[in-house]
């Protein structure tokens, strides 16, 4: 299987806790020199990894003419002109709102429909269940780009280009989400659902009052990643949003680049587009990092 669907989240809950506990243990092996070398390497790598972010944010606060390296990386002579320009001179706020709509609506729809489908695949017997499930999964073998042209051709016949439904609906059919939900729900004991049935709860009621609350941990992880995929998505909005007022932030910021706007202006746009993700990461780091560690979900 060529997709980040590698192990079921449920059985790994213990190792997830271990992953965190382990972080508390003091350094075990190695001499003092070995430890210094190790920490030095880690610090160097952290600097190399972080440098682009530092440069981007800093340059976004510099005047347009400044390009001299390394002088440009000094944290003084800061001003807001790039932000004034990018907020005043482009549709950046509109693109920001579009990205929020594209991401949030998709998160809600993916979580709802993938939980419904995952619950059915895990706990309901119906004809064609395993065939349907495996054909969902088989779709990850077909590269996304193969579907690009037929989907676009179909949507343009249906007048779906530059519409919200045309942009959002095709991205909801997410095999990874269905797979993760099914694996998680498989681990919930049947007795719980049986009890609800004997109490006479309707199927929909059982779903919303029992299944959804039990799935909260996996829904948080999945929600974070579905948001990220949509927030960072570039190619699909590039193809589908043909009017500037439908552009998402990714398409908008790339258009600044294409117009050869000065670096400080492009970076101001890029910084604004990264800010929500960065803030979310600061507060919900656990969901990002442990989500990957326990489910193999791809960022």
């Amino acid at each position: 299987m060529t997709h980040p669907v590698h192990q079921p989240p449920q059985p790994r809950v213990t190792s997830r806790r271990r992953l965190r506990l382990d972080t508390g243990t003091p350094d075990a092996g190695g001499s003092r020199l070995g430890r210094a070398v190790r920490l030095g390497t880690l610090a160097l790598m952290a600097v190399l990894t972080f440098f682009p972010f530092y440069a981007m944010v800093l340059i976004s606060f510099k005047p347009a003419g400044a390009v001299d390296f390394p002088g440009i990386l000094a944290p003084w002579n800061l001003e807001l002109s790039a932000y004034q320009r990018v907020l005043g001179g482009s549709d950046l706020i509109r693109w920001f709102i579009n990205s929020v709509i594209y991401s949030l609506v998709s998160v809600v729809l993916v979580l709802l429909l993938a939980t419904l489908a995952g619950y059915a695949f895990a706990k309901k017997r119906f004809p064609g269940r395993s065939g349907l499930f495996w054909s969902f999964l088989a779709m990850v073998m077909v590269p996304y780009h193969v579907t690009l042209i037929p989907t676009f051709a179909m949507l343009s016949q249906l007048h779906g280009v530059s519409t919200w439904w045309g942009l959002i609906l095709p991205t909801i059919a997410n095999a990874q989400a269905v797979f993760l939900m099914r694996q998680f729900i498989l681990g919930i004991p049947d007795d719980l659902f049986e009890a609800a049935r004997i109490d006479g709860a309707s199927e929909l009621r059982t779903f919303f009052t029992l299944v959804v609350p039990l799935c909260r941990p996996i829904l948080a992880t999945l929600g974070v990643f579905v948001f990220l995929w949509h927030w960072n998505d570039f190619l699909w909005p590039l193809i589908m949003a043909r009017k500037t007022d439908m552009w998402t932030l990714t398409v908008g910021v790339s258009s600044l680049q294409e117009q050869a706007a000065p670096f400080n202006v492009v970076f101001a746009g890029a910084t604004l587009s990264l800010a929500p993700v960065f803030i979310a990461y600061l507060f919900a780091q656990r969901h990002f990092v442990e989500g990957v560690a326990s489910t193999g979900i791809k960022g």
Partner: protein
């Protein structure tokens, strides 16, 4: 068109679920069982229905159509015309296609091993955590959640003439030419960016796997006087192998599909030196509107993916014995 298929589909299926209770007064046991089964089946079908519809419309249909369209002449607005393997013949005679294939493969073969090596080393280094190491881990993961548009913007500057790389170069007396304008170095620049955006993901996957490795064995080897290199080769590496295979496959498939970075940073240049397959697909499809030819490239991509999956299957199959 409603954005909520789930809600609009729900009402008509209301009746079957109501069946079991009304016929309560005459409880014939087998019938009841059957109707419970039935109720379950209806509920199941109803619950998968919205997702299944979306899959049929936006995944199965387009996948099939995409693979078939490679055998058609198709321009938007026209009816597709079957041409057999004509598109593939034209691709085979087109040097630009071979360049794209070559560029894609070179990029993958440089990028994937580099990324995996860095992920592995970093996973080993951050394995035993402390507060500091924990903080470093979060930094390493930051590029993974950053959009490629942001990465392309920053690294566009990073590799530009007068930017950090070119400044260091000219200080060393190597001239200040941008890597992005060099036919040989452009791929290397893309590899750097790609590895930067992805190694944190591999690191976390491998780290999770490392946490499952029993400590006792390693301690035993250490007391027996095995060097850290020996411990890595004979204990840790075999333990990591499945995770490494998993990563190798998804990273290879992803690298064969590289588009965003190329489109944004180089546009395929200079002189098509970074023109990858998906960029070729995009340009033929959405610039020249040759949907048939673009789909043929999609077919090639599909075959490449299958080959990678096949190799993985073969290797893992052999590994198990």
């Amino acid at each position: 068109m409603s954005a909520h298929p789930a809600l609009s589909e729900a009402p008509p299926r209301g009746e079957p679920s109501a069946v079991p209770r009304p016929d309560g007064p005459s409880p014939v046991r087998p019938r009841r069982l059957l109707s419970h089964r039935r109720r379950e089946a209806y509920a199941g079908l109803l619950f998968v229905l919205p997702m299944a519809l979306l899959f049929i419309i936006f995944r199965f249909g387009p996948s099939l159509a995409g693979l078939l369209l490679g055998f058609f002449d198709y321009y938007p607005g026209d009816t597709p015309e079957f041409v057999g393997v004509e598109n593939f013949k034209r691709l085979a005679e087109d040097p630009n296609f071979w360049t794209a294939l070559k560029v894609t493969l070179i990029f993958g073969f440089l990028s994937v091993p580099t990324g995996l090596a860095i992920s592995t080393v970093m996973a080993l280094l951050v394995r035993r955590g402390s507060r500091t190491v924990n903080f470093f881990r979060s930094v390493y993961f930051l590029p993974v959640i950053t959009s490629l548009v942001v990465a392309a913007a920053v690294f566009g500057w990073f590799f530009s003439t007068g930017g950090p790389v070119s400044s260091v170069q000219s200080a060393l007396g190597l001239g200040d030419a941008s890597w992005l304008r060099s036919e040989t170095l452009v791929i290397l620049a893309l590899v750097v960016v790609n590895v930067w955006t992805r190694y944190g993901y591999g690191m976390l996957i491998l780290l999770a796997r490392l946490q499952d490795q029993p400590r006792e064995l390693e301690d035993a080897m250490r007391t027996d006087g095995a060097s850290s290199m020996q411990r890595f080769r004979h204990l840790t590496l075999p333990h990591l192998r499945p995770a490494l295979f998993f990563l190798a496959v998804i990273e290879t498939t992803a690298s064969f599909q590289i588009f965003d970075l190329v489109y944004l940073m180089t546009g395929g240049g200079p002189a098509r030196a970074s023109h990858t397959l998906v960029l070729d697909l995009y340009e033929r499809g959405f610039r020249n509107l040759e949907f048939g030819m673009a789909s043929a490239i999609g077919g090639v991509l599909f075959v490449l993916t299958l080959v990678v999956a096949g190799i993985q299957h073969f290797m893992l199959g052999r590994d198990r014995t």
